[in-house]
């Protein structure tokens, strides 16, 4: 079963003008509802990155495009980095920052390319801070004893996706995994 979704950022601002098909947000190997045949699959890049303060929540509205199934299940993966302040040790020394995996573009030199990939334009940690890759996974699923009989029955609004309190999160990619659907009881398979 496919859905239309709407995402809101940590401040409640919608990131689209209306419900749009979930495929518009991210790739998935099984939007057809069939078992996953394509591996591996990757997140869809998100540019510019979306800043999410620590302990905030993103919100999801969703509604199905059809009725009849007895069950729906999908997962949203938010990929990005958490930004931590470097720890200060007891002796007063500051823990050296971890090495960033993002290459730093050359500052000078005649061979500057005209094209700059997006990942080089993401924000960088200030002095005394470092980034760590992180992925949030949120699962949305529900079973209906008599099957989904109306769109409204399987629609949800303002479903929170709670983020951790330990660090700000910068979202740089999104992926959606739609689980295979199960027909309603008594419905032809």
């Amino acid at each position: 079963m496919n859905f239309q979704i709407r995402l809101r950022n940590a401040y409640g601002r919608a990131l689209d003008n209306t419900y749009i098909p979930m495929q518009a947000y991210a790739a998935s190997p099984n939007f057809s509802g069939a078992p996953i045949a394509a591996q591996p699959w990757q997140a869809t890049p998100w540019f510019p990155e979306l800043y999410c303060p620590a302990n905030s929540a993103l919100f999801l509205d969703y509604e199905p495009l059809a009725t009849g199934d007895a069950y729906y299940s999908f997962h949203i993966y938010l990929q990005g980095i958490k930004r931590f302040q470097n720890e200060t040790c007891k002796d007063g020394k500051v823990q050296p920052p971890k090495t960033s995996k993002v290459a730093t573009p050359p500052a000078t030199g005649p061979a500057q390319p005209h094209y700059t990939p997006n990942f080089l334009m993401y924000s960088r940690p200030p002095d005394g801070w470092h980034d760590e890759p992180f992925e949030y996974v949120f699962t949305f699923q529900q079973t209906f004893a008599a099957g989904i009989t109306s769109i409204a029955q399987a629609s949800q609004q303002n479903t929170p996706m709670q983020l951790d309190p330990d660090a700000d999160f910068y979202m740089r990619g999104i992926a959606i995994l739609l689980d295979p659907t199960i027909a309603a009881p008594g419905a032809p398979v």
């Binding site: 689209d16 495929q23 518009a24 991210a26 939007f31 495009l65």
Partner: protein, 264 residues
């Protein structure tokens, strides 16, 4: 220099088995054209040759018709890149020859020459970024219901407004489409023309929908250069169907960023 997205389209390309056909594409008189890629729809494997204004002959296509290993132009939405770009003056005729290389022939195919028109600043409507701004990744979705049509009697929705909200400018970087009900997504029977808010089109003819609004293939069709839209304005869209057995519910999505002007 102001660049503006432009598609030049050759439709109804029909080539006999192992044969060739020549087409002349007359460019618009308002601006030179920088050709950057070639896309196809409804065409299998083929080769092409193109005469530039410099009288050089550019060849492309499958590369090896004997083994057909290089299916460079086998799929729609898979562009052949011209690098460096080929710049044509305005109002000249581009000479294109299409060859069928596998003996299957070509019937009613479409070629789209994608690039940019080159204008002097101020010669054409083209809002730009403010000096300081912040961005918010954003998507605009627009649902349409289009009845079925035929080649002789197409169903056309003209001048459909794609409105931009009043809180921020929006820059279009990618496009996609999704069928939500009705017939299956049909790129050979659905075409679009994108226009700016004054009706000036971004193409000379109907563009197959999969070359501008592809379905289910992220990262979708990239629009280069970006189309910058001021807040409270709109893009206009013509949508045409020449196939199908029933009405089609289709959602077109503009991907990009909201642009908020920064103070100070």
């Amino acid at each position: 220099m102001l660049e503006r997205h432009q598609d030049y389209v050759i439709r109804n390309i029909t080539v006999p088995n192992f044969g060739s056909a020549q087409f002349n594409l007359l460019l618009d008189p308002d601006a030179p054209f920088a050709l950057r890629c070639l896309l196809s729809s409804g065409i299998g494997k083929f080769q092409f040759s193109l005469f530039g204004y410099d009288q050089k002959r550019y060849m492309g296509g499958n590369g090896n018709p004997a083994t057909v290993l290089d299916s460079l132009l086998d799929q729609a939405s898979l562009p052949f890149i011209f690098y460096p770009q080929i710049t044509f003056p305005s109002q000249v005729a581009m000479q294109v020859t299409v060859y069928d290389v596998v003996g299957a022939g070509i019937s009613n195919g479409v070629l789209v020459f994608r690039g940019t028109k080159l204008y002097h600043p101020g010669a054409v409507f083209g809002p730009q970024y403010p000096p300081k701004f912040t961005e918010l990744n954003f998507r605009y979705g627009y649902p349409f219901t289009v009845g079925q049509g035929t080649t002789g009697a197409p169903t056309v929705l003209s001048g459909q407004p794609l409105d931009i909200q009043s809180d921020a400018d929006f820059v279009v970087r990618m496009c996609s489409a999704f069928n939500t009900a009705g017939d299956a997504y049909d790129p050979t029977g659905t075409d679009v023309i994108l226009r700016d808010q004054y009706g000036k089109p971004y193409s000379n003819d109907w563009v197959p929908i999969d070359l501008l609004f592809p379905q289910n293939v992220p990262p979708y069709a990239t629009i280069y250069p970006e189309i910058y839209l001021a807040k409270n304005t709109q893009l206009l869209l013509d949508l045409r169907r020449t196939s199908g057995t029933q009405s089609d519910d289709i959602t077109l999505v503009l991907h990009g960023s909201k642009i908020f002007e920064a103070q100070g």
